[in-house]
Symmetry: C2
Subunit: 352 residues, 2 copies
């Protein structure tokens, strides 16, 4: 098969980790007889510097016409202390999500047996953890009307959801639950928020279409607790944009394998794959960043966007082998030797 | 001294744990020569059942005229699966906060050496944890306009903050930081929300009035992570209502001592003290609920509302003694004997 993949390296360590994912994907393509054409495009601070826009139209054209998007990370320290700067890298992220219609962010959290002791949580609390968040990504308070009144003294942000938006996301949740343990948790704040009550009633009405799925409804504050107490009691969780932002980040640290966690953002026509970690400016250019989350995001891309599970598995096998043989970057190299970003990528590509 | 204390037992285990706090407070009053008049009043499901309102006017009158409010817990399972029921116990809570002007919720999280191994987190991660959240409690998305449009198909919730609301809360944060390690963290989502940008610019402008305080600004998603990774890196944290709801609950489970965590909600004229745990319906009437969080809330009341630190310390000493001698309820009685709610209360009162 032939694929066009938009390649958005972004800022910080983005380009370095993306390079490794490209190498590994090319090795997979070679092995299985596919042909990948990479279409690099600018985004983030790199795009602001070049053309004054963190998600330029040219980049959007490339993404729209690609079969999938592989994304590194964006964000640059020069914008960090000025959240009200007129143009910021994160705006590129939000614009991209909205313009590509990436409404469902899929965030698995699972443990790697060899890394379990890196977790801040006790082993017995996290063993067997294997959960997936589906976070709504193009609605809610992120995209509602916001602004100032009273000469700047009053600020407001509007959180808005339509039933159709909830249904679209919840459908993916029910479908995912059907392929797993048939357990779905709807996370909301229905005791306070009207949008949450819409979420809850919409999901409740869909239950009859998936009689095999057991649905639970939990408040976001209770989930924030239980994620730390018993993460392995969850399977598929669906939630709105802001709750998802907070809870998926919380969940990402429980496994101890944050540097390995991939994610996908799915739209009706296109999907984007990216590591959950950020642009990690301090590590930029040092050849020390862990490329595995980006490499595993490429695995998700083969599996989800191209429906090629064997290709994805080949990548996962290589990563597991690297972990058990200690071919890892310094974040995971406890006592052993630490390998460079590039060297880990080379090893993975050679072991496909 | 003479005090009138409004006593809101509420639902579930509320009445049982409140009884113990009353007993212990009376013992303190006796020892130090104070006189407490308790003013019981209805709230929560109990108040809905009695008069159809979870925070009746009569209760408000009693609270308004008291020197402090001691609160148990509210919530009843008959409302749990119907978040859109016309009258719900939680509405009483919100109404009470708003009408009493309780704008600052103070939530300490600390470890008890003897309980540290109950935490889901590893000992080395939580040792020394001693942080305080100041959560804004009468603004934000909880109290903004909310409703439906398009025949119910679209729901919205408005998050609103004024500069004055932020200043009022932040002032308490700076003052608290001055009495502690002089470290303040402002938690927001200023890369997305306009209200957060108002929070951030307001706190930034106040920095010059507290030159000794080191202020950091972190995004809510990053804090949700770091709370699990390095809770002991935080000291005083200030944040808006909804973020505070989520993060304080997350923080409450890291110490392993959730059943012991007290809280205070401060207004300009009155303050309310309550355990952070809920009404725990399954345990109701069984004499098994842990009364210590409510007893420690009474300690906070003496310290904060009445400015009587020795009286508060007497309560804390009794609780520490009970913990080290194993006079605890079943949630804390690992191998040893479990005592009843009432027996723990009696023991604490006798040991003041
Ligand atoms: C950078 C920021 C706007 C973004 C978000 O809040 O969605 C990030 O935290 C994420 O989760 O991808
Ligand atoms: C019951 C609910 C409305 C309340 C809140 O969200 O404030 C509770 O979770 C709390 O934190 O006191």
């Amino acid at each position: 098969m032939k694929f066009n993949i938009a390649l958005l390296a972004g800022d910080g360590i983005g380009p370095e980790v993306i390079d490794q994912a490209v190498k590994v994907s090319d090795a997979v393509a070679k092995k299985f007889g596919h042909e990948i054409t990479w279409k690099p495009a600018l985004t983030g601070a790199a795009a602001i510097d070049a053309v004054g826009d963190p998600y330029p139209d040219a980049t959007h054209e490339i993404c729209k016409n690609a079969d999938a998007v592989l994304f590194g990370a964006i964000g640059h320290p020069k914008y960090d202390n000025d959240p009200s700067a007129p143009v910021r890298p994160e705006q590129g992220l939000l614009k991209m999500r909205k313009k590509l219609g990436l409404f469902a962010n899929v965030r698995p959290t699972f443990t790697f047996p060899s890394l379990i002791d890196k977790s801040p949580l006790k082993r017995e609390r996290i063993e067997g953890t294997d959960l997936v968040f589906l976070r709504e990504l193009t609605g809610g308070i992120y995209f509602g009307e916001k602004g100032r009144r009273d000469g700047g003294e009053t600020a407001f942000d509007n959180c808005v959801y339509t039933r159709a938006e909830v249904q679209r996301l919840a459908k993916k949740g029910f479908e995912l639950a059907m392929t797993r343990s048939k357990k779905l948790c709807c996370v909301d704040k229905a005791n306070v928020m009207e949008t949450s009550r819409l979420w809850r009633e919409t999901v409740q009405a869909m239950e009859k279409d998936y009689p095999e799925v057991t649905v639970s409804y939990e408040f976001v504050d209770a989930v924030a607790m239980r994620l730390v107490q018993w993460p392995n009691s969850y399977d598929v969780l669906i939630t709105e944009n802001l709750f998802g932002d907070i809870l998926t980040d919380e969940a990402s640290v429980i496994s101890g394998s944050m540097g390995l966690m991939p994610s996908a953002s799915m739209g009706a026509d296109i999907a984007l794959f990216e590591p959950i970690h950020g642009s990690y400016p301090q590590a930029t250019g040092k050849n020390i960043a862990n490329p595995m989350a980006t490499v595993l995001s490429a695995a998700m891309m083969f599996e989800t966007a191209f429906n090629l599970p064997e290709e994805g598995q080949a990548i996962r096998d290589a990563v597991n082998k690297a972990l058990s043989e200690g071919i890892v970057t310094e974040d995971l190299a406890d006592k052993g030797k630490a390998y460079g970003t590039k060297e880990v990528g080379d090893w993975l590509a050679a072991n496909i």
